[in-house]
Structures are given as structure tokens and as C-alpha cells.
């Protein structure tokens, strides 16, 4: 269980990025965070990853404080962030350098197989397509066997086709590992495809506007009426999150008519 308990983050400049966020993610749940720009989605993810510290409140994983990067928490960024001087295999094995050679190679081989890139061990990152590179980044995060996987708009730079195939990869990995997943996205369809629960955030300062459980059976059919109804519900909530804020009543009118993200 990942629990985010009354977490606030105020940046040194005085900007309030997050205000008293409370969110619990039981082991094995996929939670998607959506919301307008400046609502602190990425900030929250960085706090959970231990890359930043909350100004107040606590983040715990199974009762243990998360204040620094933990081996139990893997993160995948918007860009693959592979190390260009390492081969695909060495990139994946970057976080398990402390393990013995045999175990390391076995883990790398098994995760490569699962992301469908067996035989790519010796390639350089520059030889990979965008989708392949992001799959390697997922493998790098998974190879340490984390309990929680954080994803920060991981597929936003990819075309729709590649994105759909990566959704399938991610869900297949999730089925076998039963990870908790917290994914930040601005793509409502992506949220509805992946998540068990969608958290709609509200900007300035970032807070949780509402939570929407997604009770569609898996695998989800994107063309079904239920899927569309769900997407509409999330979009309505997003509109609400932008027009219904007490502190952003002025800004919302102009912002909501523009792109909500």
C-alpha cells in the first residue's frame, strides 16, 4: 500500500504546487492522474519517487517512509532517458549492477523477452525507435522488481499506434507483476484504458478535485459505449475542475475555453 498522507509542496519561490494531497493506492492498483497544467501532477510523482521532498505530510510505502529514491519505486519519465553510452542490455541492468553477473544477465534477458525486444541486447540507444526506447526504459525500471511503478506522461511523445501497443505491454507486465501503478497523463483515453481509478486534479494550488473509479472489465474495448461514457465522465470532471475552483475563478474562464491541458 502506497499512502500519500496530507502532502503539500511549496517551492522555494513561495509557489504552492500541492496542497494537502491524500491518496492511498493498494498493492496492484493502477491509478491515473489527469488534470490541467500547473496542477502538480509531475510534482507529486517526483515526491513519491523521492526526487523531491514534501514541505509537509508523509509518503509511505508499506509503512516505510519514502523520502529518498527507493529500490521499491521505479519511475519512467516522459523521455526514455537512456544512457547513450550503454548498450540496451547495460541500460536495463543499470540499476542492478550490484547483483552477480549471472543473475543480472538472467534478469535482463527475461525482461527483454517480456517487452518484446529479445535480441536487442547489443544495440545502442541511438539505433532504437521512440517506442522501443521507451520500452527499454520500462524494462530498466522493472528489472529492479519494484512494488510501485510511476509513469510521467510516458507515452505522450509517441504516435497513437505505438502508444496502444505500449499500453498492452504495460498491462501485460502489470498482470504478471501485480505492481501498483501511478501514471500521470493528459490523455483521457489513456487513463480510461489503463486505470482502475482516475484522480482528477485541480490547479493553483494543485489538489485532488475528484476520484472516478473505472469499473470496466479488462481487456477494455475502446469502441464500446461504456468506454465512451467513462471518457465523457472524466472530461466533464476536468471541465468542472477548471471552472469550479475557488482560487482560480478568474483564470478558469479563459483557461477552460482553451485547451484544458
Amino acid at each position: 500500500m502506497l499512502s500519500i498522507d496530507q502532502v503539500s509542496r511549496i517551492f522555494p519561490g513561495g509557489q504552492e504546487a500541492l496542497r494537502t494531497i491524500a491518496l492511498s493506492i493498494p498493492q496492484g492498483e493502477i491509478v491515473a492522474m489527469v488534470g490541467g497544467s500547473g496542477c502538480g501532477k509531475t510534482t507529486l510523482l517526483r515526491l513519491v519517487a523521492g526526487l523531491d521532498a514534501p514541505s509537509s505530510g508523509r509518503i509511505e510505502l508499506d509503512g516505510a517512509d519514502l523520502r529518498e529514491p527507493s529500490p521499491d519505486v521505479g519511475i519512467i519519465f516522459q523521455e526514455p532517458r537512456l544512457l547513450p553510452w550503454l548498450s540496451v542490455a547495460d541500460n536495463i541492468g543499470f540499476g542492478i549492477a550490484h547483483l552477480g553477473k549471472a543473475e543480472r544477465e538472467e534478469r535482463i534477458a527475461s525482461v527483454l523477452l517480456r517487452i518484446g525486444l529479445a535480441g536487442y541486447e547489443k544495440r545502442w540507444p541511438r539505433e532504437l525507435s521512440g517506442g522501443q526506447a521507451q520500452r527499454v526504459a520500462i524494462a530498466r525500471a522493472l528489472v529492479t522488481k519494484p512494488k510501485v511503478l510511476l509513469l510521467d506522461e510516458p507515452f505522450s511523445a509517441l504516435d497513437a499506434f505505438t502508444r496502444a501497443s505500449l499500453h498492452e505491454h504495460l498491462l501485460a507486465l502489470w498482470e504478471t507483476e501485480r505492481l501498483s501503478v501511478l501514471i500521470v497523463t493528459h490523455d483521457v483515453d489513456e487513463a480510461v484504458t489503463l486505470a482502475d481509478r482516475i484522480v482528477v486534479m485541480q490547479p493553483k494550488p494543485g489538489r485532488i478535485f475528484t476520484e472516478i473509479p473505472v469499473q470496466l472489465p479488462r481487456p477494455r474495448d475502446k469502441r464500446s459505449d461504456a468506454f465512451h461514457a467513462m471518457s465523457r465522465q472524466v472530461l466533464d470532471a476536468l471541465d468542472g475542475s477548471l471552472s469550479d475552483g475557488p482560487s482560480n475563478a478568474k483564470a478558469a474562464s479563459t483557461e477552460a475555453t482553451a485547451f484544458w491541458w
Binding site: 519517487a49 529518498e68 529514491p69 529500490p71 544512457l83 547513450p84 553510452w85 540499476g95 545502442w124 541511438r126
Partner: protein, 278 residues
């Protein structure tokens, strides 16, 4: 510095002229001017149109170089010069890497030493010669110090720039995997700065060869720079040109060796230097 410009010119022209599709035309055209000058000089002197006392024909230079090599003189002088460059380069490059890294990685050190280094950089390095001779005498120490100073600046600047431009996002990957400071340096900062380090070392080596000439012209009893002065004093331009050719050859050779030795560590690069190889 000119080495960097040269390298840029080379790499930008690389995509058009791949090794396999190399045509002989441009090369032949480029050789036309020097070759015809050499032929004119050679024939002119042979026919007695001019004496060739101050501008020796290629055959004369070849004979002089051949003599220098067969008597073993060339190796004695080249060894002396090469050794000075090697020592000066080793000291200068080590100091450049050390201070460049410290200055880049530790803001306090940067604020402490960078202004001084930048100020000293404005001094043309040869201006130090009289001071170095006063301090270190006229023998090897002052020469090697001068070369080391020449090598230091491009290496320092290159390494400092490289460390400062390491992508924050890549450092973050290191943090996610909980690398210690030492591991972060070895597994992320070192490889990330390696391409710039190699470029700056090559620039430094080029300056090392430049400054060894200055150092040896100031006074030396052996070395290729001594040959230059000797040739001037005894009125033998063939000796001077032989030394010049030797400098060009050794400078080119050491640069090629350095590039060759570091190439295996840079195969991963995604730029024009690797796209050439497909």
C-alpha cells in the same frame, strides 16, 4: 583551437563524402597547387633559373631528411622534442582535467578558481617565457612548464564546459538508482563528458606541439626546434624545412593516435562522427 575548427569542417563535410564514394577529382585538384610549385622549384633550380639557396628544392630537402634519419640525428632530436611534449601534455592535461572537473562539479571551487583561470587565459602563453626562465632556469623545467600551461587551458575549458552541460535529466536517472557521488561520477559524469574531453585533449595536444617550438627556439641544445634555429644560424633552409615537415608529421601522427586510442570509447555517439560509419 584551430584543431577544433578543422575538425568541425571535416565532420560537416562528412555526410556528402563517404569513404566508399570518395572521388579522386577533388583530391587531384587540391594537390595541383603544391605539386606544381614543387615541380617548378625543382626544374628551376636544376636548369639554373634560380639558385635555390633560400628556397631549397624538394629533392634537397629529401636528401637532408634522409641524412638526418640515416645518421640517427633525426631520432635524437625527435625524441627530445617528443619527450618534452609528452611530459608537458601529461602535466597540463592532468591539471586541466582535475581543475576542470572540480570547477564544474563544485560551485564553490568554480567561484574560487574560475575567475583567476579566465584572467590568466587572457595572457598569451609565450609571454610567460621570461618569467619561467627566471623561475625554473633555462633547461627542461621551464620548457615543460610552458608546454603544460599551453595544454592546460583548452583542456580545463573543455572539461569545465562538458561537466556544466551534463543533462540534469541523466543525473536524475543516477539519483533514481541511488548512485553514490563516486558512482555518479564514474558511471554518468565521466562517460557523458568523454566526447568533449577527447576534443579538448586533441586541441591541447595541438597547442603542446605549438609551444614546444616556442620553448625550443628560446634555447635548446637538441630537439626539432633546435634544428630550426640551427638551420637559420648556419644558413641551411633545407634543415629548417626538414624540421618543419617533421613537426607536421609528428603532430599529425600523435593526433591520429590519440583519436584512434579514444575512438572505441566513443562508438555510442549519435552524431555525424558515427553516422559516417553507418
Amino acid at each position: 583551437m584551430s584543431d577544433i575548427a578543422l575538425e568541425k569542417a571535416e565532420t560537416t563535410s562528412a555526410p556528402g563524402t563517404t569513404r566508399r564514394g570518395f572521388s579522386f577529382g577533388p583530391l587531384a585538384l587540391g594537390l595541383l597547387l603544391p605539386l606544381s610549385l614543387a615541380v617548378i622549384l625543382e626544374i628551376g633550380v636544376a636548369k639554373g633559373f634560380f639558385q635555390g639557396r633560400l628556397a631549397p628544392p624538394p629533392s634537397k630537402i629529401a636528401v637532408t631528411l634522409g641524412e638526418l634519419i640515416s645518421t640517427g640525428e633525426w631520432f635524437r632530436h625527435a625524441y627530445a622534442t617528443g619527450w618534452r611534449v609528452a611530459l608537458g601534455f601529461a602535466f597540463g592535461a592532468s591539471a586541466g582535467i582535475l581543475f576542470g572537473t572540480l570547477s564544474g562539479a563544485v560551485p564553490f571551487v568554480r567561484r574560487l578558481i574560475d575567475p583567476t583561470v579566465q584572467a590568466l587565459r587572457a595572457v598569451p602563453s609565450i609571454a610567460w617565457v621570461p618569467l619561467f626562465i627566471l623561475w625554473f632556469g633555462i633547461f627542461e623545467t621551464s620548457k615543460i612548464t610552458l608546454i603544460a600551461v599551453g595544454v592546460f587551458f583548452p583542456v580545463y575549458l573543455g572539461v569545465l564546459g562538458a561537466v556544466l552541460s551534463i543533462d540534469r535529466k541523466v543525473i536524475e536517472v543516477g539519483r533514481v538508482f541511488r548512485l553514490s557521488k563516486l558512482e555518479l561520477g564514474r558511471r554518468i559524469m565521466l562517460p557523458a563528458t568523454l566526447p568533449a574531453l577527447v576534443t579538448s585533449l586533441r586541441a591541447g595536444l595541438g597547442l603542446g606541439w605549438m609551444f614546444v617550438v616556442a620553448a625550443e627556439i628560446m634555447g635548446a641544445s637538441e630537439g626539432l626546434g633546435f634544428l630550426l634555429v640551427d638551420g637559420q644560424q648556419v644558413g641551411r633552409p633545407d634543415l629548417i624545412v626538414s624540421a618543419i615537415i617533421s613537426f607536421a608529421f609528428l603532430g599529425f601522427l600523435t593526433d591520429a593516435l590519440l583519436a584512434r586510442a579514444t575512438a572505441p570509447f566513443l562508438r555510442w555517439r549519435d552524431d555525424l562522427s558515427t553516422s559516417e560509419r553507418g
